[in-house]
Every structure is written in C-alpha cells, then in structure tokens.
C-alpha cells in the first residue's frame, strides 16, 4: 500500500493524490520516519474538510531530497493519542491544531494554546489567563518578564522558576504579535497585496519569506523561472544573511558589555543594508522579489559596488571577530553558556543554525536546494558544542561563507532584466510546498488551491516556531543574568511564531 507521496521542494501535486491513512497508521508512519536522523517534520497542520479535519504531515528527507506528504481525516470529537507523547518534534504543531479546531490529543505534555489566534476554537480562553507551570516550594521563586520588554523589541512573555540566581525552568508564552497572517493570505486576492504581506511576515527575513511565497506562487501558476530570477533571490537572501548575522553579533556584544564590538559591527551592517537601498530602494530589501518580474535589474554598476562593499566589509569584520573571539571577558560569557545538546535538537526538531551548532547537518540549501543554490554545492557550517559561543561562531562563519558565495555568483551574472506576464490563475486543486533557508533556519510555505484556481488554504512556518523551545531548554541551570545573552544568541522572531 502506498501510504505517502513524494514531492520535491517547490513542487506541486494534485491535492487528491495525498494518501489518507487511518489515524493509527498516520501516527506510526510519522514516528517511523522520525526515527531516521535524516528526516524531520517541516510542517504538520489541520485543514477543515466539511465537518472533519484533515491532518497533513510533511516530512523532509535530507538524504533523498524529497518531502513525504501524507494525511489522515479525523472527526472533531475523536479521542486521539498525541504524537508528542512519543516525539516532541510534534509538540507545537499539535498545540496549534488543538487551538484551531478544539481537538484534544491525550497524553500531550503541554496542551495549552500556542498563540491565542483570533479564530481559535475555545473563545473563552484569553492570552491574559495562560496557565503557567507553578511551583509549590518556599525555596523557589518566579520571575515574570513581559510582554513589553526593555528595549526596542517585539513582545512576548517569559516566566522563570528560579532557585536563587539559577534558572530551573523557563516557560515562554507568545501570541501577542498575532496578526492573522494565514487568513489574510486567503482574504487578499491581489498578487501585490500577497507579496507585501509575505514581506511583512517577519520584517527581518524579508527575502526569506517573500522568496518562499513567490517561489510557491510561481510553481502553482506553472511558470518556469529564468535563471536571472533565481540569481536575484539568492543574492538577496545571502545579503540578508550577512546583514542580520552582523546585527546579531553586534547585539551579542551589547549583552556582554563589549562596546567596541557593538559599535563596529553595527556600522558594518550599514553598508550591507544600504546596498539593498541602492539596489531596490529599501534598506530591508522590500520590493525586490516579485512574481515573474524584476523591477531592479542587477547591472554592472551594482556588481562592482557590491564587490567593493564586500571587500571593505570582510577585512574589518574579520578583525573585529578576531578580537571578539579572543577576548577573555567575552569568552567567559559565551563558552558553556546556554547549551543545547544534539539529543535535544533531534528530539525537538530544531532547525537552522540552532540545529547546526549541535552537529546536525540540517540545511535546506544543501538538502532541498532551490533557486540558485542548485548551482552552489552548499556545505553547511557545523559546530558541535551547542552553546552561545558556537551560535556566535556559526554567524561569523556563515557570513564569510555568504561573502564567498556572492563573489562566486558575481563572476557570472545572468540576465536579470526579466518582465514576464503570467495569468492570475493557479492550477486548480493542487497542493504545493516551498522551503527556503533564511538566516535563522528553514521557512516552509504550503498552499492548497480550490477548483477555481484560487488559494483555498495557506499555511506557513517560520524557523522560530521550532526554535523557541530551544531557548527555554538552554537556560536551565544557567544564571538568570545569562538569559539576555542566550536569548540574543538565538535571535528568534516573535511575529514569525505568532503570524
């Protein structure tokens, strides 16, 4: 019996061809797949089908470069065993399904709503009365932080249970940033609206999310991308990676009170994002990635400018990193702080840099290459210690790697003067999936079209969705004063999680 269907990254299949399994078989297939280290769950969600719910699971196989898709149809009042009771990688996904449809998964370790979305099933619950774990001890105390934090940052609530200075447990409750993005993907019909929306999912990974959306929309329209568009999107993603990694190292310097690092790294970021401004008129790269079109051809002037910027940047960046990573006062804050183990990475399904610093080779650019990465034999940067130091080092190394990739790509610039027209009609009754690897980790967008060729269902996932749990786990048995540096070392998105 065929119990799953293979699909490639940026691939589509007729929705009807997704195998529908009995829930028990669905559970065991999911668990069997995840026993293999090269597989991980990229997205698992529920879709209302008449009165029932169709659960769709997508497992990415890093080894054979496919994504395995399969589903199960359940009734709303079915009593279902939780996948999370066996594998924590499904924990967040199941909470989301419960929140949306009121399904109770028994044996779920933490059956609380995840983001208090506006259309949640149980409207009696509100974000103000989330039930945190509490303590019954005279020795321990709780520290609550949020939702408004000190500094210019998005909101979220953190509750620590501490013994003196030591953190025993951290619970992170998000949802304050919930804007109803997934619903807007269906409500908004115009492609320009959808593109702007995709750029606003997380304002610090504009290229990542808009590439994911546009790639998916193009494949659903049956458009074959010329190499020029692949080039533009990949260059944009790599520039974004350099900029955000640099900004992150600058912020880490703030948290360890290393003033020189902050000053130098924050000004180093400026010419990088100003290059975006020179290219497409916006410092965060908005307006650059458009469907079947490129308003801002990458010409010789831009090429030379970028090479010049990178040369200046690289030298100063290496100098300041050399200084930062040899500074005893910095190392004493970075090393062995906030450790994530490879077991945690595997069991909780962490992605992106968070997974790669524990030794896992999990990188969509190499396992499911898209756009120009098909021409780059990407070798993921791997670190093994899983601490703040590793997370800082991987940002340095990936930045240098991005510079090398950009230089190689610039040796042979394809024609980027592309203005194709495509019909505003998608293939009917299709399921499509698009994965990209942004500077945090893997982004996943999936869409289902109706018989009229309109988007009927849209589901997306930011890497932060997986990785917030990593922050909660890594601070255990650390001092509470190390929380900021741990938090900044992940630099996760609140709105990417809350949508």
């Amino acid at each position: 019996m065929i119990n799953y269907i293979n699909i490639v990254n940026n691939g589509i299949i007729p929705f009807g061809e997704i195998p529908v399994l009995q829930y028990d078989d669905f559970v065991s297939l999911n668990l069997d797949f995840l026993k293999n280290e090269s597989n991980h769950c990229v997205i698992y969600y529920g879709l209302p089908v008449k009165d029932n719910i169709q659960l769709i699971s997508c497992i990415a196989d890093d080894f054979d470069h496919n994504i395995k898709v399969f589903s199960s149809i359940i009734k709303r009042d079915d009593s279902l065993i939780s996948l999370s009771s066996e594998n924590l990688a499904f924990e967040k996904f199941e909470r989301e399904i419960s929140e949306n449809f009121g399904i109770v998964f028994y044996k779920h370790p933490r059956p609380e709503p995840i983001r208090y979305s506006i259309d949640m099933f149980d409207k009696s619950k509100s974000i103000e009365n989330y039930r945190f774990y509490d303590i019954n001890s005279e020795q321990l105390h709780e520290v609550g932080v949020g939702p408004v934090h000190a500094g210019i940052i998005e909101p979220g609530y953190f509750r620590f249970i501490c013994n003196g200075e030591k953190i025993l447990h951290l619970e992170i409750q998000l949802g304050y940033q919930h804007r109803g993005v997934e619903k807007l993907f269906i409500d908004k019909k115009n492609i320009n609206q959808l593109t702007i929306l995709s750029e606003s999912i997380a304002g610090d990974s504009v290229a990542g999310h808009s590439t994911s959306f546009i790639n998916l929309h193009e494949v659903l329209s049956g458009y074959t991308r010329p190499e020029g568009l692949n080039f533009v999107r990949t260059i944009a993603q790599e520039i974004e990676r350099i900029a955000l990694n640099t900004g992150n190292l600058s912020n880490l310097s703030v948290d360890i009170a290393y003033q020189l690092g902050n000053a130098v790294l924050s000004r180093l970021r400026t010419p990088i994002i100003n290059f975006f401004q020179e290219w497409c008129g916006n410092r965060t790269g908005r307006g650059l990635i458009r469907e079947a079109d490129n308003y801002f051809p990458f010409n010789e002037v831009l090429k030379n400018k970028l090479l010049l910027i990178l040369t200046d940047y690289e030298k100063d960046f290496k100098d300041i990193c050399e200084n930062l990573f040899h500074l005893p006062s910095a190392l004493s804050r970075f090393e062995k702080t906030g450790i994530i183990t490879v077991e945690q990475s595997l069991s909780s399904g962490f992605v992106g840099t968070t997974a790669r610093v524990t030794g896992l080779k999990r990188d969509i650019r190499s396992s499911h290459p898209y756009n120009y990465y098909k021409n780059i034999e990407h070798q993921p940067v791997i670190k093994r210690h899983g601490d703040v130091y590793s997370r800082a080092r991987i940002r340095r190394d990936e930045t240098l790697q991005s510079i090398e990739y950009i230089r190689n790509m610039l040796e042979n610039v394809p024609d980027t003067n592309i203005h194709d027209k495509i019909a505003n009609k998608l293939y009917p009754n299709m399921f499509g999936i698009s994965l990209t690897e942004d500077w945090r980790g893997e982004i996943c967008h999936t869409a289902i079209t109706d018989e009229m060729g309109k988007i009927k269902h849209y589901k997306l996932k930011d890497p932060s969705f997986h990785n917030w749990l990593a922050l909660a786990l890594c601070v255990r048995n650390n001092e509470i004063s190390d929380f900021p540096v741990c938090n900044k070392s992940f630099d996760l998105s609140y709105c990417g999680h809350d949508l």
Binding site: Y116, I118, D119, I127, P147, V148, A150, G151, I152, I153, E154, P155, G175, Y176, Q177, H178, R179, G180, K183, L184, D187, N190, N192, Q193, T195, I196, L197, S200, A202, G203, D204, V206, G247, S250, L260, A263, V264, S266, R267, T270, Q277, E278, W279, C280, G281, N282, R283, T284, R286, G287, Y295, K315, D316, D319, E322, N323, S493, Y494, C495, D498
Partner: protein, 263 residues
Amino acid sequence: MIDVLKILKNQGYQTINDVIGAKLHEKFRGLPVIKNIECKEECTKCMDACGTGAINLKPLTIDLGKCTFCPECEYICKIKKIDFTNNFNTYSNDRDALIINEKNQTDSLIIEEKIRKEIRSVLGRSLKLRQVSAGGCGGCELELNATGNVNFDISRFGIDFVASPRHADGLLITGPITKNMSKALEITFNAIPEPKIIILCGACSISGGIFDGSNAIDRKFTKNVRVDLYLPGCPPHPLTIINGILKLMHKQNFKNYINNAHS
C-alpha cells in the same frame, strides 16, 4: 591593545554629522511627487496595483499613512506621473497632511501651528521614549535600533529609548496593534507621566497597513488618543525617524543646535 587601536583607526568617524541635510541614494523611495501630467482617461492601474489602498483617483492622491513605499504604482504608470523621490522627510504631525496630491507639495509635511505647545516647552530639549511593538514585524524595530548606532546616533540630540514607561515622555508604537497586545499597550501608555506624546511609526501603526481588515487587529487605541507624530514608511528610514522627532521637539535653529553639538 594594538589590535583594538587598529580596529578603532579603521573604524574612523562614521557618524552622519548633518542629519538634516544628508542625501540618500537616488534609488531610495521616499516622499512621492505627483507630477502635473494628464492621466489617460479611465486608467486605474496605479490604484489597482496598490496593495494597501493608499491611492485614490480623481484627483490622484497618495496616502503616506497607508503607503508601504513599494515600487508597484511607480513601476506600472506608463506616463510616470508618480515619482518617489529620495526625500526622506515623509513625517507629519497631521494625519490629513500625509495625503499627497498634485498641489500641496512642500518640503515638509509638518504643520507648525498644530504642534502642542508643551511638547517644545517641556520636552523640547530631552525626550525619552518607550517603544511598544504591537504586531510590528521587526522591520520598524530594526530601523529604530539603527537610529541608535554610530552612524545615526540619535542620543546626541537628547533622544533616547528607555526601558520603563515611568521614565518616558512618550510612547512610540510600531505594528498594526494586535488584539492580543492591545491591553498591554494601554497599560504601558497609562504608566507614562503627563505631558506625554504619541508617535506612530510605520504604515502598520498609522493605518494598519497591509494588515488593515484583519480581525486579529484592534485599532481602538489610536482613535482615542491624540497622535503627535506620524512616521510613514515600511519601515521608515532612520533619518525619517530622527528628523521627524527633531522637527517636533525644536522650534527653530535646530540646525545650529546640531552644529553646536559637535563643536
């Protein structure tokens, strides 16, 4: 030690001295100019292309409070009626002044007589702001953080972002204001002592932006308070933010003030 000195030497002096007179790259999409060119009859292309409904026709107007400064309308107009210039002075203290038309094209959208007296008399020399992100995607937050770096260095003008609303003279909001955040936003606002100002930063916070129409956002708060400054953009450029706040704070001669700050 020698390494540090070397880094400092390479760093040089990076700060933009004259934040008022600074020129951005010509590609930057700032204040739009609507040219005096006759539109083709029944052409609605720019309005249709706009993702946030910022454009109205007959006569053609662009609402900067809704505009995300994307390239669509400029790109689609064959007669080049709309031109996004590199002028970053897109800020205003008046919501209506943000609606750009063919006629009212001046260098500054600030309406002097509408600025509250106490802003300049009490807060004119030092302004501490509490920023609250209420659904902000992180874009405005990036640029607000950038105002504090060595390039823009907003704190030399006596403007700072503080941790507690009790220390603040005003509230700066980013994001379309989500329902889940509306209560926390109100609590923060109430904790700020009088006199206090409100600044809305970014298209989302001014009008809801691309999220306008979502049932997960709740814009009651902005309707019940008096807004002192709008900073349009998606996200606004750091120079837009700095100049907007400076214009609000200082009555005149603030160019001298900047020069003095460096003498």
